[in-house]
Amino acid sequence: MLYKESGQFVTTYRFDKRFFRLKQERLAFALLLAFAFLVVPSIGNDYWFSAILIPFLVLSLAGLGLNLLTGYAGQLSLGSAAFMAVGAFATYNFNLRIEGLPLIISLILGGLTAGGVGLVFGLPSLRIKGFYLIVSTLAAQFFVQWVFTNFTWFSNNSSSGVITAPPLHVFGSDFNSPVGRYLLTLTVVVALGLLAKTIVSGELGRKWMAVRDMDTAAAVIGISVPKTKLLAFAISSFYLGIAGALWAFTYLGTVEPHGFDLTRSFQILFIIIIGGMGSILGNFLGAAFIVLFPILLSNLSSGLFAGAIDPGQLENFQKMIFGALIIFFLIKEPNGLAKVWQTVKQRLRVWPLRF
């Protein structure tokens, strides 16, 4: 009986509101954090930090941002990358143009700017419903990219339009090494992840889900649907903005507007479809999948069937497998990997008993 629920009753409201209701879960989460903060830095290498862990964390955060909007508040968006771009370029400019502004403050300001832009492009959602809304988010996608390409002021008139990360110093510590960048990213992601968990399990989260499940009924019980939707856009874009800034600063170290194109928006949408809509954990599972799957596949082909598959063909197959997985999940498991994980836990609970 690894996973036992009995004997742990919910007695008070405070208890109910905690992140994890079971002692095992709290313990597991604490162990996971300890592992990520203390053990990983000493056992990881450059490749793991730069090519796997950092992108995994940043994409999880981006997925989280979109999930708040789409998974919780039910507003489909194809413009996630645009808000990431706003976050990245805004952070860059705050950092560049305000002398002595601490990096973390630039980051938060960048996120807030993205949130503001998200709010503006969320305005049509007050009148447009369902997937007609993708027009507004696609407008954001193309417009934002155009602005950053066309107005070179945003990239400090660099001839190539590429922005590069400033040295990463936070509270006097140097975070420029791969480990440092990993720890910085991890801290931001964990903090924002816990914040998101609080939001969705509270009143605002309930309002989002109410609007998602049935907006007419939500209005009838007195929820302000416009305000709820706009908050979803703003907060989601804030998260995406921070993710964009991390993408540019701690992951790649450089970014051009094209790096936040429609493909990126799709990628983030896929994270939440595969990971699970309306789940915080799902974003991490989905991002892990999207980062690891191509690497596994290419390792598989070069390791097991060395040379049997042309690398180009492999990528085609990968694309097809991705597409097929999206459809598979939509058909068989609309709640994504998060649900799969729950099922596994459910079985752990009764294991080794048969049922």
Binding site: P55, L252, G259, I295, L300, L314, W351
Partner: protein, 448 residues
Amino acid sequence: MKFLGKHRWLLLALGLGIASVTAQVQAANEQYFPLQSYRIGPYAAGGSGFFGGFIDYLQYVNAKEGGVNGVKFTWSECETEYVVEKGVECYERLKKGLNGAPAAATNPLSVGIAYATLERSTADKLPLITINHGRTDSTDGSVFPYAFPLQLNPYSEVSAIVNYIATQSGGLDKLKGKKIVTLYHGSPYGKETSPILELLAKKYGFELTLLEVPHPGNEQQSQWLTIRRIKPDWVILRGWGVMNPVALKTAQKTGFPANHIIGNIWSNSEDDAAPAGSAAKGFISITTHPSGTSFPVLQGINQYVIKAGKGNLQDPKRFGNVYYNLGVVNGILNVEAVRVAQAKFGKRPLTGEEVRWGFENLKLDDKRLTELGALGLVQPLKLSCADHEGGGAVRFQQWDGSKWNVISEWVQADRQLLRPIIEKSSHEYAKEKGITPRDCSKETVAAK
């Protein structure tokens, strides 16, 4: 595994993946090239040609000479799909070498990937070769010790084009009053040369109009109607991918003659012209690597590699085309750099740092190019600590409806004019990043 039920497949996949990262084999006397190649996606045509040519040249050197001084070349590919983060992953995965063979240099053939791996390359002491592209100011090797925009940077590119237009018009002084339109791809790459063009326009007195085509460039009606109204003498096409054939088709539609359109370095392949069909006939473009199979080195590759059935190209018809030959040129430059470095450091597999020395002391004159069988294919080149570009010359070619024909000798860019602009930019970069430029006068020179 009972409790996993229907999700067993997940574990299985995971297990297979882990098992595939197999143990390393004992090192051989080999020099390794990590290849961040791209063979699918929107730019696949360029990637498969370039990396095909590069690989075939390495095979050729291995087969003909047994490598360089007995050190054979080895390589492995990692598909980037031209996507930056995939390129970074590939870089991080491959930079350590293969089975003990050290990596010599990376050649991503992608501006985005080059930018994203620039600082990593410097930190890892691994040369980053961006032949004909990359960051213009990385020409200044004192600030960018590990980046090499070999042969031609974007600034030289436009300067050479303007010089060519001048010779067609009868001299630089005849440029005055000419109308030139530059049609550029709506991306940082497309806009990069705009300030230089404006500078040249002011200097020589020609009328310049800059027109942007939004990515990807499927629709250019409005731009070409505007061109039709301006009636320029020349149109410089700074295109990318599908934008090129569409430009040529739309030019035909609006009655602008193709033989007054000059394509830049990313508008110069068969894949840029051929899809436009008859509309491309007469189209002129620059090249640093003329197409064709008559060069002795190409004949050699044909004999040792292609005929042996080891050619990398899926479609043998593409042998000798523009991208393939760029790959061959890139192969020649990389291998020669290794050769130069071996002369100094010994006949063994070299580290990235040692190969960099080779690049900085690379000197290809007509004599050496003749020995390599690459006279006319590769421009004479001399690199140094301060100058990581080296050449700055292009030849012009014209599309006859089915292939490119070279129509000029090497035309030089005005590199003296550009150097101060480049240094200004590189010094700004150095300041922003806190880099102290190297003192190039103190670098050791090749012992010849």
